[in-house]
Subunit: 435 residues, 2 copies
């Protein structure tokens, strides 16, 4: 048998290391994840493992955890009775597990930890706590992105004898393209806010990633001046939601993994195990320029990343979710915070690219400095339109940032569905508004 022979040196090395580092804590010795993973046959005695939960899957008869403590890139699988699952045992929580290392039936690992006790040391309620749900308006007199692909809204039977003919709302009114600006208003009082609602684009696109009506999860976080903070919330949101889906909807995930996108579940578990990769936009352009692949759109600093570029970058990074940060200042909307660098001038903005989909999240620090925001709006000729937005930088302004996630794209990503029209019961797109 090839497998055990190859593992023998590792086992020897593990045993020596183990003997040197074995620490007696009460009746059981403590093991690191690296030590545990190096074992082939398991151990007759109980051991103690301490680390952070990378995934929780709770099934009817069994509970699976993956625990990582930084000693290895890999996590150790923990198997337990389902009654050891408590509400505090979530993605990101720190735990102490006592149990026996046993030989695993799974081909990908030698051993797993058969837990007799799981203690949550530090809980990690990564998203719900402290976030207030806000209903941002659907009809708005603003155009958040400054782009022109809007739906206008007009009352059908509006004839009430007004002389100005300006319609129901007295001003031109549109369907929202994002709740961000309204969330920013509310974050200046509630600190952390989010919305989950429909947004609209009148784009003439029949692509497999665009709908005219789609849902976004958007969040704004006050008192942060670090893009890393925003990225940590994004990564936690993606991982905790996906972990919850894997644990609460195993039948659906298995169905899609078997019949729709073969191996999808394994791919998701890889996403959960690994830390997301980060590269700057400038590094991304260099990677693309160095690529052997011939692109339809030539990669150039200052130009938008195209679908083909996104696909290449994600593959280049090992097919895990990839943060691209610090985009060219002129590519990003007026509210993105100026990094004040040069000569390649960037803004503190981030996109999360995921395999098979491309952009799933987009976020940024927002320009909280009145003077900097004012001069940018002046250059764009938008000072009158966004007077109210400038005002919230005048009265108790705080450094803040946020992000949005396309909900249907997230469903595509989780279920492995190629066309976005297939994750919506009543999809709306050019030339189609059925029912």
């Amino acid at each position: 048998m090839f497998f055990p022979r190859k593992m023998a040196p590792a086992l020897l090395s593990f045993c020596q290391w183990h003997c040197r580092h074995r620490r007696h804590l009460g009746a059981v010795s403590k093991l690191s994840v690296r030590e545990a993973l190096a074992s082939v046959e398991g151990s007759p005695n109980s051991i103690k493992l301490q680390g952070w939960v990378r995934s929780v899957r709770s099934q009817k008869d069994i509970l699976f955890l993956h625990v990582n403590d930084g000693s290895s890139l890999e996590s150790l699988q923990v198997v337990a009775e389902p009654n050891l699952k408590t509400s505090a045992l979530t993605f990101g929580s720190s735990v102490e597990v006592i149990g026996k290392l046993v030989k695993s039936l799974h081909k990908k690992q030698n051993v797993e930890l058969n837990a007799s006790d799981i203690k949550v040391i530090g809980g990690c309620d990564s998203y719900s706590n402290g976030y207030i749900h806000i209903h941002t308006p659907i009809i708005t007199s603003n155009d958040c992105e400054g782009a022109g692909e809007l739906f206008q809204v007009q009352a059908t039977n509006w004839d009430h004898g007004q002389s100005d003919k300006s319609g129901f709302f007295n001003v031109p009114a549109y369907l929202t393209v994002s709740g961000q600006l309204h969330l920013e208003v509310m974050s200046g009082g509630f600190t952390r806010v989010y919305s989950f609602g429909p947004t609209f684009r009148a784009e003439n696109s029949q692509s497999r990633r665009h709908l005219a009506e789609f849902y976004m999860v958007e969040a704004e976080i006050s008192f942060t001046d670090s893009l890393d903070d925003i990225m940590q919330v994004i990564e936690n949101l993606f991982k905790s939601t996906t972990t919850a889906l894997l644990s609460q909807c195993p039948e659906e995930i298995n169905f899609f993994s078997k019949y729709v996108s073969v191996g999808q579940k394994d791919r998701l578990e890889q996403f959960l195990k690994k830390k997301f990769v980060t590269m700057t936009y400038t590094e991304a352009i260099e990677v693309l320029k160095d690529a052997r692949e011939i692109f339809h759109y030539k990669p150039e600093w200052g130009c938008d990343l195209q679908t083909e570029h996104e696909r290449y970058l994600v593959k280049h990074c090992g097919n895990v979710p990839l943060f691209v940060i610090n985009y060219p200042y002129d590519l990003k909307p007026f509210y993105a915070r100026d990094n004040e660098d040069g000569p390649q001038h960037t803004a503190a903005a981030v996109d999360l690219l995921v395999p098979g989909i491309g952009e799933l999240f987009g976020g940024s620090l927002r320009e909280e400095r009145f003077d900097v925001l004012l001069s940018r709006l002046e250059r764009l000729g938008l000072t009158d339109t966004y007077q109210w937005y400038l005002d919230i930088r005048k009265f108790g302004s705080v450094p803040h940032g946020g992000f949005g996630m396309g909900f249907e794209r997230y469903l595509q990503c989780i279920l492995g569905i190629d066309n976005i029209k297939d994750v919506s019961p009543f999809p709306r797109f050019p030339y189609s508004c059925l029912l």
Copy 2:
């Protein structure tokens, strides 16, 4: 002291009744709510109470229940340590409580039950279980209510050389006035569905109960042919949500009860204790005709109930929520189920009127019979428009019904806020679309 003297005969009567009906069940005797309420000073021994939970309020240091067993219109207050609260202890669940009757500090009752043990006999998860959340579309080519107060949606920069000039969707497209018809599609597969999303009316109303953009909770329930079923879901939804709010947001409720609408909390607790009243539309018209009050709109069978009528009816019934059922057939939309009665022809429709607000819920059984629906649509000249809706009566049609609740009106009702514009951060109404 007047109080104890007046209660003496009741106490004597209670003692006699109690002695006759005392049943020994293990170590503690069983008491009905009527027996318990008739006590003045409490009891030295533990007693057992069995009944249904009418309200749960869980505070930091104390748990309050109201339990009713049908022996009295009133409920008995149960006081317990907060650790006796389990997730199964919800509005509507049946419980067995062991404890001692003690004198209450509250003026409204003589005694309360100081619980040492609370056992949930039958859980009552009245709403979340089994209901699937559906995102019904915002942009639609339908007009659910058959009324004309719609917002039309058009792409602003749509010029892609189409000869037909029919715009982005190729058909006229509107903002939804209700997700009901789409929910009906989904209920023909998921059995119980609900939506919680924005809906729109281009009504020229500046009233304190109307917005151009508002949220509705809507639900559809398959396999029911009883309006009572729908009303039970409505009453449970109202009571369980309100109970949850009272228990989870005591500070906010107390604030509004103190500064915005004095006594609001007591009124809500009255709503929770009492069974909602039901009367038919025909009875309601008789009550209005018999009223001494002079109405601006004369009440007549076949006419809509006006705000003044709703107010009178609710007051007439003791200022508790009031179901009005079986409305004139011709007043209700095409989808309401024909009661096939006469000569006053009605449909199986219901409105819930609440004090201070008027109509909060509206619901009906839906016409599931193909032939009956077809002939009504034919009379209305709507067969072509609703061909797809007729189709869902052809293939696996089931008796079903549902309802919608205006979310902002619910907030008004709970917080005692007079004007609907004050419960929305960004209210939209005629001549106003700020931000």
